[in-house]
């Protein structure tokens, strides 16, 4: 009886104390997340201005802001907003899986044993620092230089490697161009891989070594071990990495810039908010699509590679 009462009171005090720990976050959530989220949605249905008393005025206009967002207004570079959205989406949907595969690849290299692993490890985690947007921007030369030109002619559209692939393999032109584009973009991909490699490495090291031993004793090849053990064990981590890289890419996209331009340069807070809402829905839709495809691919890979 006493024991039972004690346990209940312990649980209750745990809950009460944990509320103290949670309080700042909950207040922050309401103040800096939920309220702004609600306001953004509300602003997007209004035209906002400054009244005679200096206070903000809002006039309800229904979906007018959304209509003009997709029909009349232009971005900074004088292109329609729809075009910006399509371009950014294509870019992100293409780059996220590449980053996922590439960071897994880097992590697997780091997880294997070879001479000079310590030095390679230092370099492979450098993108955490070199991948900062400001660093990436500032290390890009504004005058075309010798080495860039060489890289361009090697991997660019008319490069010998791509021509060779086009002529001598049965790969369709789209695939070859895609490969060429990734190749051109390789620095962006690598510099977006820092944290993801880290997460994958932690994941690889958390896989129980005896699983690999058993597989080896049973005569599995390295290839089979990868598809049958490593990949399934990493599935949750891959989902997390995918979401993370996705958000990372969206954070760096130029849509964010446009939101700022509309709201504060062109003084149309309503349209800026409408773009914000579109942007959020876009991120969530892309995420759902991506996770759906990802699950399909992983399940398929697990089933067919026997």
């Amino acid at each position: 009886m006493l024991n039972r009462k004690n346990r209940l009171s312990y649980r209750r005090s745990w809950m009460l104390n944990s509320l103290v720990f949670l309080a700042p976050w909950v207040i922050g959530f309401l103040l800096f997340f939920a309220t702004p989220l609600w306001n953004t949605i509300w602003y997007s249905f209004n035209t906002l201005g400054v009244g005679s008393d200096g206070k903000m005025t809002a006039e309800f206009v229904g979906i007018q802001n959304y209509v003009s967002l997709f029909t009349d207004v232009l971005t900074k570079d004088n292109t329609p907003v729809t075009r910006l959205l399509v371009e950014e989406n294509l870019n992100i949907l293409m780059n996220a899986p590449v980053i996922l595969v590439f960071s897994l690849f880097l992590a697997i290299i780091l997880n294997s044993n070879f001479k000079g692993r310590a030095a390679v490890r230092i370099i492979f985690f450098l993108p955490i620092i070199l991948g900062l947007d400001i660093v990436k921007d500032m290390l890009t030369a504004s005058s075309g230089d010798f080495v860039d030109v060489a890289a361009e002619s090697f991997f660019g559209e008319d490069s010998p490697i791509l021509q060779f692939l086009l002529v001598n393999t049965f790969l369709p032109e789209g695939v070859v161009n895609f490969l060429g584009e990734i190749n051109n973009n390789i620095y962006n991909v690598i510099s977006g891989c820092g944290v993801q490699t880290l997460i994958f490495l932690a994941g690889l090291q958390s896989i129980n070594g005896s699983l690999y031993e058993v597989a080896k004793i049973e005569g599995a090849t390295t290839y089979e071990i990868f598809w049958k053990i490593t990949l399934p064990m990493l599935k949750d981590i891959m989902t997390f990495v995918l979401v993370y890289s996705f958000i990372d890419l969206f954070l760096a996209s130029s849509i964010a810039d446009e939101i700022y331009t509309f709201a504060f340069m062109k003084n149309s807070i309503g349209i800026g908010s409408a773009l914000s809402v579109v942007y959020m829905i876009n991120v969530l839709l892309d995420l759902v699509l991506m996770l759906f495809v990802f699950n399909k691919v992983v399940n398929l890979a697990g089933e067919t590679k026997r």
């Binding site: 700042p24 290299i109 000079g116 492979f124 070199l130 939101i259 991120v283």
Partner: protein, 329 residues
Amino acid sequence: MKLRDNYLTPSERLLKSSVGVVKGVLFGTLLVGLCFTILYPILKALPTVFNDLNDLGNPNVVWVPETLSVNSFKLAFRIAFGNGLSILQTLLYSIAIAFIQMMMSAMVGYVLGRNNSKIFSILTGLVIVAIMVPPQALLISQYLSLKNFDAFGLIPLLNGGETIDLVGNPLVLYILAFAGFGLRQNVFVFIFRQSFRGFPKELEEAALIDGCGFYRTYFQIAFPNAVPSMVTVLTLSFVWNYGDTFYTTYFDPTGPYLANTLSSMFQWANRDLIADFATALYGFSGNANYVLDAVKFAAVLIFLLPLLLLYFFMQKKLVENFERSGIVG
């Protein structure tokens, strides 16, 4: 040589070892290529910054400077760093923010990770939603609400009906971090949640039996056991806040943050200004683009120096902790 190799014929042994050599060479090439790609921007910047300003753009000078000079660094320092105080201020700011973010997200992560009841699962879901909504989407209304900050009507009550303007006040960045909504803070909450989920229940129970309350269990048992996650979060938070331009540009535009200064100073539009500086100080004559690049690279190398030093001195510890942090749960 492995034991079973003794049973191979000499020709088979030769084949095997040559396959090994080829594999090694391929793997080595791959590693060197990857490392080169990662280091390429730095390698490319180094000859440029140590070049004499007048040799920039000279097709005879690509990788090895003809005359070594540190004029680019001097110029970068004059233009962007002033007396060097802003480096110190930015470093202190990012360290302080990193600590606040780490402490606050560890507390939230602990509560969310140690309890499976429904309300905490819902809160975890909210953390994930907060990770997924990009902060730029909330920028407008966050900016407006910070401009007229009323904290659910509390501040007008205390301040005679007036709201306060937090934009431009450095305090706002600390408030955001304290309330759990600083730069990518919910990712940190998630990392801590995963790490505390793997924390053995027996330790907690032992602490309870020995008479520890909630706070003592946390501060003496659970928190000190989360060192790998702490190191990971502190490092990431420090690096990200040091290089961040989003929160600082919009919420404290007049602050001394280096990343802001650099990104506004070294724009394409300012290249003639920088070239004029170079002409006046070092007798530079030539294309303004080249001097812009050289000074820009020099500035970003100075900017990176604290991060690189920290990384190289701590890399062994850092990477070990990265690997052991409960990021995976």
